[in-house]
């Protein structure tokens, strides 16, 4: 629990951003095809 803030900042947030990138890639591909 002590490192929860660190894990969120250094792992969860970048993972969410990268996940969002792949999600938008998939969604925009579907709408354009």
């Amino acid at each position: 629990m002590v490192y929860m803030g660190f894990i969120v900042a250094m792992l969860v947030i970048p993972a969410l951003i990268i996940g969002l990138a792949f999600l938008l890639y998939a969604l925009t591909g579907r709408s354009s095809s």
Binding site: I17, L24, Y25, S32
Partner: protein, 493 residues
């Protein structure tokens, strides 16, 4: 001159970027479209990396790692805003502007605005060009100064020679190879930068006894991302508002060969940027463990943490490569800003305003562009020698100025049919004035006169909001172009 192993890595790096300049010369000499946007032939890979690194500058290495050293993991909020905003731009904004600019042969941002908002008198083109030059030129100067200082520090040269060498290399490959050279060198620089930002924190953390040991050594404040004031958080996230208005980023979207490649470029650029920026934050955290007191860093300056760790923890040859990465960051930004400024002068002022309607050979325009590259570099060096003040503040202002003044107009022109020419002019003027006032008006904080951008929130937030309001208000009061529906459909089909 001290010929240590650093020098070999540096020389090798400079040889590579100059070779790219010579290689790209044959692609850039065909005409202004080739010189300024590579004839719209760039691959998705090159567009992704060059868009990301030309927007970042040495701030990632020096500023961001310094922020992480001082603030701990809260420094991530300074990158979350622009990474996500640029992701959305790649996915939704870039395809529309690429389609439109291809159909109307737009090669600069003022070109796009003139075509979209039917600027027949060139009023909007003029205010946009003045805004671009006003903020870009000091920024190019500051990059040369930053390069000169780092060069001088690394090789025991005088700062003057450092500035000449940095400016000379940038000038030579930009002058020869235009946009293709700038984009290809940006791509090489992106690879060098990511090496520096991943390798260094990993090595330092291993040598400091592993991640667990590093985390135990850091104080609770350093590992808590909520240790940031609301004003600072808004300003940090607000930096993301700047991306859309900075023309050297938008020009990348216009240069891609296939429109669908922008989605791929969005994913690659985002992943690359996340790795670079979080790497820089790790550098700051690792530096805090290696040097717990800022007084241990040269001059008590937290922004020195990256070069100091490099010197202390890496083999001299790798240290040379990593220090070259700082130059890569400086050069990849300076070259892009330089080319945008040259395009504003040659394409927008000379070809589209002074010689409007005249037949000018493409050879003459490219030749003139090369002369202007040379002239602007000389001007930037001249400014650079007279530059005094904080580099970080100037970089934020140079990013925020075009971001606030041009960003709302760009977004609305692409997504809102009711956007008008008068609305655009009003938006630019209000944005510029708001930004300049915000950094110059002071209030008393703890008995010290403090500018509004330091006392409350960064200048981009009020500048962007005021410009957006002006664009919307004036557009509602004026008539949009008669064929606005057709113009908008040219972006979506």
């Amino acid at each position: 001159m001290n010929l240590d192993p650093h020098v070999y890595a540096f020389v090798a790096y400079f040889v590579v970027v100059l070779a790219i300049g010579f290689y790209a010369a044959k692609y850039s000499s065909g005409g202004v479209s080739e010189f300024f946007i590579g004839g719209r032939t760039l691959s998705r890979f090159v567009v992704a990396l060059s868009a990301v690194v030309s927007a970042r500058s040495a701030w990632v290495f020096l500023g961001l790692s310094g922020l992480a050293y001082k603030m701990g993991v809260s420094a991530i909020w300074f990158v979350v805003g622009f990474i996500t905003s640029e992701l959305f731009l790649f996915m939704f904004f870039a395809p529309r502007i690429r389609k439109f600019s291809g159909r109307h042969d737009c090669i600069t941002v003022p070109d796009f605005l003139a075509a979209r908002l039917q600027d027949r008198l060139g009023v909007l083109r003029f205010v946009t060009v003045v805004t671009i030059l006003m903020f870009m030129l000091p920024y190019i100067s500051s990059q040369f100064v930053a390069g000169g200082k780092s060069f001088a520090g690394a090789f025991e040269l005088s700062e003057m020679y450092g500035i000449y060498i940095t400016a000379g290399v940038v000038m030579l490959y930009t002058l020869l190879g235009g946009f293709v050279a700038v984009s290809l060198t940006d791509t090489v620089q992106a690879v060098v930068m990511i090496f520096g930002l991943v390798a260094l924190p990993v090595l330092v953390i291993i040598q400091e006894g592993g991640l667990d040991q590093v985390l135990q050594s850091l104080g609770p404040m350093q590992i808590d991302p909520t240790q940031i004031t609301i004003g600072m958080l808004v300003g940090a996230l607000g930096l993301g508002l700047g991306s859309v208005g900075n023309p050297h980023i938008t020009a990348r979207y216009m240069s891609i060969r296939d429109v669908d490649g922008l989605r791929y470029a969005g994913v690659l650029g985002t992943v690359w940027c996340v790795v670079m920026c979080w790497g820089a934050v790790f550098v700051g955290l690792a530096g805090r463990v290696a040097y717990p007191d800022v007084a241990l860093l040269p001059g008590g300056d937290a922004e020195k943490v990256f070069p100091v760790l490099t010197e202390s923890f890496l083999h001299p040859v790798f240290a040379g490569v990593v220090l070259a990465a700082i130059f890569a960051a400086i050069m990849s930004t300076a070259d892009s800003q330089l080319l945008v400024s040259v395009s504003a002068i040659v394409r927008d002022i000379y070809q589209k305003m002074i010689r409007k309607g005249a037949e000018i050979s493409q050879f003459s325009l490219v030749l003139l562009s090369r002369v202007i590259v040379f002239s602007l570099v000389v001007l930037a060096i001249w400014f650079g020698f007279r530059f005094e003040g904080q580099l970080h503040d100037l970089i934020v202002l140079a990013w925020s100025g075009p971001g606030a003044a041009l960003g709302p107009m760009m977004l609305l022109s692409v997504f809102w049919k009711r956007m008008t020419l008068a609305g655009g002019v009003a938006g630019v003027l209000v944005g510029v004035v708001t930004v300049l006032l915000w950094v110059n008006i002071t209030v008393m904080v703890d008995g010290v006169e403090t500018p509004l951008n330091k006392a409350y929130v960064g200048e981009i937030v009020p500048g962007f909001v005021a410009s957006l309001a002006a664009c919307c208000l004036v557009s509602w009061l004026t008539r949009p172009p008669e064929d606005a529906t057709a113009l908008m459909s040219e972006m979506s089909n």
